[in-house]
């Protein structure tokens, strides 16, 4: 099992797309943190930076690369089918459940790794910026640490959801399209207009986990612990579903 996980990590490290996506996830974090700070306190914008809410809103922007991590998770599985490399993968390890488990573990490690770097980047950008406005924050003030940890957890779980999604949808392009459409269209519509449904979908759970200040204030998200449990539930659901589907599937 340890060998299979190492092999999955090496697979990622030996393609350029992975580095591109990881860089994109970090760029997303940086851009969103900067934009959250620039718009804070303006009319129609997020709460002012001088408030605890405002600071938390900036920190939660650090996990905005979640969608990219989801795509990395999808690629870990779907790229194997796209390039038929799944044939040699299953020849090395004919016990397919172990292959999918190794992929889920690898995706969780990679997702957590990217999320931790994104959190560090968020602090590196926001702390000096805020200090220049005489707002002094550190990891323990205003629940900053909790928000950052929540973001790391959300990104990590999304990576595992991606592996499940990549197993369930055979076509890589279709899987990525479905993920993007879901997150960018369906979730934002549900979250914005039908919050009583929106808080129960994965995006709502992730928002609760990262303490996205805007939505927490106006729409009523689930409590943080419930969001965490719900998101873990989605992760397990997709991982188990993907594994079961992959077990039965003919590879030709």
């Amino acid at each position: 099992m340890k060998n299979l996980i190492r092999a999955e990590l090496l697979k990622l490290r030996t393609t350029r797309l992975f580095y591109g996506l990881a860089a994109a996830a970090l760029a997303f974090a940086a851009i969103n943190v900067i934009s959250a700070m620039s718009t804070a306190g303006k009319s129609g914008g997020a709460p002012a930076l001088s408030t605890g809410e405002g600071v938390r809103n900036v920190m939660s922007a650090g996990s905005s690369g979640t969608i990219i991590v989801l795509i990395i998770g999808i690629l870990i599985m779907a790229a194997e089918f796209r390039h038929s490399t799944v044939t040699s993968t299953f020849l090395v390890s004919p016990k397919r459940g172990r292959v999918v488990s190794a992929k889920i573990v690898a995706s969780v490690l990679v997702g957590a790794g990217i999320a931790i770097v994104a959190a560090a980047l968020t602090l590196a950008i926001s702390v000096p910026w805020l200090a220049s406005k005489h707002i002094h924050v550190h990891i323990l003030s205003h629940n900053v640490g909790v928000v950052l940890l929540g973001g790391i957890a959300a990104m990590t779980i999304y990576a595992a959801v991606g592996v499940g999604l990549g197993s369930l949808i055979r076509n890589q392009t279709a899987a990525v399209f479905v993920a993007l459409a879901w997150v960018l269209v369906v979730e934002s519509l549900l979250g914005g207009f039908v919050p009583e449904v929106g808080k129960w979908i994965p995006g709502g759970a992730a928002a609760a986990l990262t303490g996205e200040a805007n939505r927490a204030a106006s729409n009523g998200l689930l409590p943080m612990w419930a969001g965490a449990l719900l998101l873990v539930g989605y992760g397990v659901l997709f991982a188990v579903g993907g594994t079961r589907f992959t077990m039965r599937r003919d590879v030709s």
Binding site: L10, H83, T87, S88, F90, S93, P94, S252
Partner: protein, 305 residues
């Protein structure tokens, strides 16, 4: 010793029966050609043997166990299935290293097998720049990583230039001469005739015949086919005259390496009535085509195996 055993394998895709109750064995230390026209079910059979496709019925073993139950399968079986199964953006050596790690083999094996197949110089290139022939060699390199005792290749000559085919033949021969087994599929008998010891022929998903290549060549000798109500009497009369003859059905006789004149004279001497008689002449390729077109042996009609 048997290295591959296939027992009644059947695979249905919807209403299509791709492989129909197929059984055969491959002996250790030989090169066996697995032959049949395109669509005969060769690839499906090999993929079932390797645990990639779940059979509708039947079972198969390699070195005594179903593939899924082999501990460290790469150390027992190497398989080259299709030339496109590489990530185009990954370097050749990295592709092999990934497999080494997953199989629990030392990563130095990657360099060793690159050398074995003559790809050392391009090991650091991304696979998307590889020709079909180079991909076939890389696939073979991957199959050799665990130094397996059984090698399975699906249409390995596809896309190879004549020099590549020659290289592959020599390679497989050396491999089998070390007491290891090779099962290699092809839709061309001619391509395999210089390489294989034995052949298994299938068509339309069904077993047609299995024999040594030498025996198969014997069956293609010119002969005379006779339909007669006294088949046994004719066979005995021909045999008494030193002419090789076999009953192919209860009403037909195949006499080998003789002429219609000779058979006619022998029949007259024995008082045998002849309804129909024709001389047969096959070359190996024609014979293969007839075999796979009718799915039953045109000479022996399956009576001899």
């Amino acid at each position: 010793m048997t290295s591959i055993q296939i027992n009644g394998l059947t695979k249905r895709f919807g209403n299509v029966v791709a492989v129909d109750n197929l059984s055969f064995e491959v002996a250790q230390g030989s090169i066996t050609g697995f032959l049949g026209p395109n669509g005969a079910g060769k690839t499906t059979t090999l993929r079932m043997l390797l645990g990639l496709i779940t059979p509708t019925a039947g079972s198969s073993t390699i070195t005594g166990k179903p593939y899924q139950e082999l501990v460290d399968p790469f150390r027992h079986v190497g398989a080259v299935l299709e030339s496109t199964s590489f990530h185009p953006g990954r370097r050749a050596r990295d592709h092999l290293r990934v497999l080494c790690i997953a199989a629990g083999l030392p990563v130095t094996r990657a360099d060793e097998v690159l050398d074995e197949v003559g790809l050392t110089d391009v090991g650091d290139r991304r696979v998307k720049g590889f020709s079909l022939g180079m991909r076939q060699r890389l696939g073979l390199a991957a199959a050799l990583l665990g130094e397996p005792e059984v090698l399975i290749l699906d249409e390995p000559a596809n896309g190879l230039d004549p020099e590549g085919v020659h290289w592959l033949r020599k390679f497989l021969r050396t491999y089998a001469d070390q007491g290891r087994s090779v099962l290699v599929s092809s839709h061309l008998l001619a391509e395999m005739a210089q390489t294989v010891d034995d052949v298994v022929i299938i068509a339309k998903g069904r077993f047609v015949t299995q024999s040594s290549l030498a025996d198969l060549a014997d069956r293609t000798k010119p002969g005379v086919w006779v339909r007669t109500p006294q088949a046994e009497a004719l066979r005995d009369a021909l045999t008494a005259k030193g002419i090789a003859a076999e009953l192919t059905t209860s009403e037909t006789v195949m006499a080998l390496e003789t002429t219609t004149e000779t058979v006619g004279i022998v029949a007259a001497g024995a008082g045998v009535v002849i309804f129909e008689m024709t001389s047969k002449h096959f070359d190996l390729e024609e014979y293969f085509l007839e075999l796979t077109a009718s799915t039953t042996d045109p000479i022996t009609k399956g009576a001899l195996r």
